[in-house]
């Protein structure tokens, strides 16, 4: 990632270099006025996502997804006749994310902000959006708090939050009799998202007659889970709940298989990339997902085919969500014929529907700005049934059922403390 600001002030001859750059730019402006004007006509979108660290692998898919959407939109004539310019940078950590977001608005000419996977970074970008009264389409962070106590009217959330993931996996767990009267032991990622997830899981088990007998907080950079696996065996639970995130999930399932523990796994957060990275025969349990490349809708099939053509592998859920998020943003801009923050907010709050390549369309709930959409539980295919290395997840049916309202699996107004 090139940090333009740092580059500009570096070096002893910065003054002279700036002068030269300015001179060249000026000369170019005189020589090619048309090019310069079309450059400034672009709609600039500030896009931040983790490209390094424990969520970096997901960020790579996010960038692949938004690239396809950008090219498709621009090829079809752009938005209101203007090309989209998505400026992607590594958000690194919460502090850097907020600094970069502010710079994108102040200096880089970003009209709106998009992106994120890390809940803690999403939170700081949300603050930047509110302070500057600019729109932030929060794409991939899943903490409930972002849509609850920390919500603000400048931020809209695309991914399914903790509550929906718990409900999606929870329905399958109830069906298999793994909740009522069962004692569970959980491992929890030790940061904002993990704590949030642990709370949701605890509420779910308590509400359905299960009980917690242990919960370990795991630092995000832990790679060896063996001491925790021993503690699980010592506690002899009925179910092991995974409230982990990113690489943690992969490390956990690999070592769980290595030690051959037999307690069923109730997983509440898993991205397809983490599942793929687990390797043959290592993944087990019941997990939720927001989207999967085997989803049988015409839109998803077309997207998967295009993604495979370009990158030679199926898209991960973060590729899908970035793809549909940019399409959502483009639809809003086209419909309002504007990039104005207030007009875009009004459009989203009108609960306009968006095609998100699922069987049912999604819409942003007006009072807490979360996208209402289907979610899916999945299990792992029995050994020998996978067609290739991408295909070992047994994809479940969408919840809620087609005849139920989408809001059924989201937080209720009583549960959600969001006040705009």
């Amino acid at each position: 990632m090139i940090d333009k600001k740092a580059e500009r002030v570096s070096g002893p001859s910065a003054g002279r270099r700036q002068l030269l750059q300015g001179g060249v730019a000026g000369a170019l402006a005189l020589a090619f006025p048309a090019i310069v004007r079309s450059q400034s006509d672009k709609i600039k979108i500030g896009h931040l996502t983790p490209l390094t660290g424990f969520l970096g692998a997901l960020g790579e898919y996010a960038v692949m997804g938004i690239k396809i959407a950008t090219e498709e939109i621009n090829k079809a004539g752009g938005v209101m006749g203007r090309q989209l310019d998505v400026m992607t940078e590594d958000s690194v950590n919460p502090a850097t994310a907020s600094t970069k977001a502010q710079r994108m608005l102040d200096q880089d000419g970003a009209t709106v902000l998009m992106g994120e996977i890390n809940s803690a970074s999403a939170k700081t970008i949300m603050q930047v959006a509110a302070r500057n009264k600019r729109l932030f389409l929060q794409v991939g962070a899943r903490s409930d708090v972002l849509r609850g106590a920390d919500c603000n009217r400048y931020t809209f959330h695309v991914d399914i939050p903790v509550t929906v993931m718990v409900n999606a996996a929870g329905q399958a767990l109830l069906r298999d009799g793994l909740v009522k009267g069962k004692r569970y032991f959980s491992l929890t990622a030790d940061y904002l998202f993990g704590h949030d997830l642990a709370k949701g899981v605890k509420n779910f088990f308590t509400a359905n007659g299960g009980s917690q007998i242990g919960d370990e907080l795991i630092a995000t950079d832990v790679t060896d889970f063996s001491p925790y696996l021993l503690k699980i065996r010592q506690a002899r639970p009925d179910v092991v709940a995974s409230n982990l995130a990113g690489n943690q999930v992969t490390n956990f399932v690999k070592q769980y298989a290595e030690f051959g523990l037999s307690y069923p796994i109730a997983g509440f957060n898993l991205n397809t990339a983490d599942a793929w990275a687990a390797g043959d025969g290592n993944l087990a349990g019941i997990w939720p997902t927001v989207w999967h490349h085997e989803l049988d809708t015409p839109g998803s099939k077309a997207f998967v085919a295009e993604f495979r053509r370009r990158y030679g592998k199926p898209p991960e859920n973060h590729a899908w969500i970035e793809y549909v998020s940019l399409k959502i943003m483009a639809q809003a801009m086209n419909a309002t014929k504007s990039t104005d923050t207030e007009k875009l907010i009004a459009y989203f709050e009108s609960q306009a529907e968006f095609d998100i390549l699922k069987a049912r369309k999604g819409y942003f709930r007006s009072w807490d700005h979360q996208l209402m959409q289907e979610a899916y539980p999945f299990t792992v295919k029995p050994k020998g049934q996978a067609k290739d290395k991408w295909d070992f997840l047994q994809f479940g049916t969408a919840i809620p059922a087609p005849n139920q309202p989408l809001e059924l699996i989201a937080t209720t107004k009583e549960q959600n403390t969001c006040k705009m």
């Binding site: 692998a57 790579e60 001491p227 490390n251 070592q255 990275a277 043959d280 025969g281 290592n282």
Partner: protein
Amino acid sequence: MQVFFLLEQVVNGLVLGGYYLLIALGLSLIFSVGGVVNLAHGAFYALGAYISLEIAKVLGFGAGAALSPIAVALLGMLFERFLLRRFYAADPILSLLVTFGLALIVEQAIRMIWGAAPLPASMPAGLKGPVILGEFMFSRYRLLLLAVVAVVLAGIWFLIHRTSFGRVVRAGIQRPDMVAALGIRLQPYMTTIVMLGVGMAALGGALFAPITVVHPAMGAEIIIVAFVVVVIGGLGSFWGVVLAAFLVGVVRGVTIHFVPAAGEASMYVLMFLVLMFRPRGLLGERIEKFE
């Protein structure tokens, strides 16, 4: 029962210590002989994992684990010959910067070649599962890993303490000037030490690939632990590093047993305590050139 649970964590910590040792011993050897802190050591560990997966695709898991360290050792030879060699006599800050830069370059190169998404890696199904001894549970795979570490350790010990090669290396650690005065060039010895060191790191990467996430930054994750082990063990001491590796593994396990939240901080507290009472590390020798 509580005592038994604790004992189980201690034994598991020892197993984990064996794995730390594989990475830390090479780091310690390179530092002791060349006076260079090789911050790129983790990068060789990561390369070991990635290359083993490539080999395993064609020749299977065992061949991957056996051949990848050799391939990485050859890379290590180039690294020593063309880069590291220039910095033995220089200000330590230069070698720190160079090896740190190399670590970043390798990490990014891995990202460019294999992608940022972690690669799937599995062990042969026969190695999976627990071994139950009385009330104790071990991972079969980790016991195998420990056996490999023991063999490697014995080999290195023999090489350093019972061969003419080792005599020169040990003399070179203490008095490189005297070795030179006797007409012995230390450079080929140093090349061999670097090859052995990074080869061991690569073996660690290859053996740990099936049970951890294989991703570009995996080297950065391990280098800190390895460094802590070397500091606790003390420079120039073979047994110091061995002791420290097992100690760090056990202290982490025991801490997680009692205060899980402090598990990852425990090794730094241990390092702090050791350095307070023994500034040269547990079994660190007085090495004149570093004083």
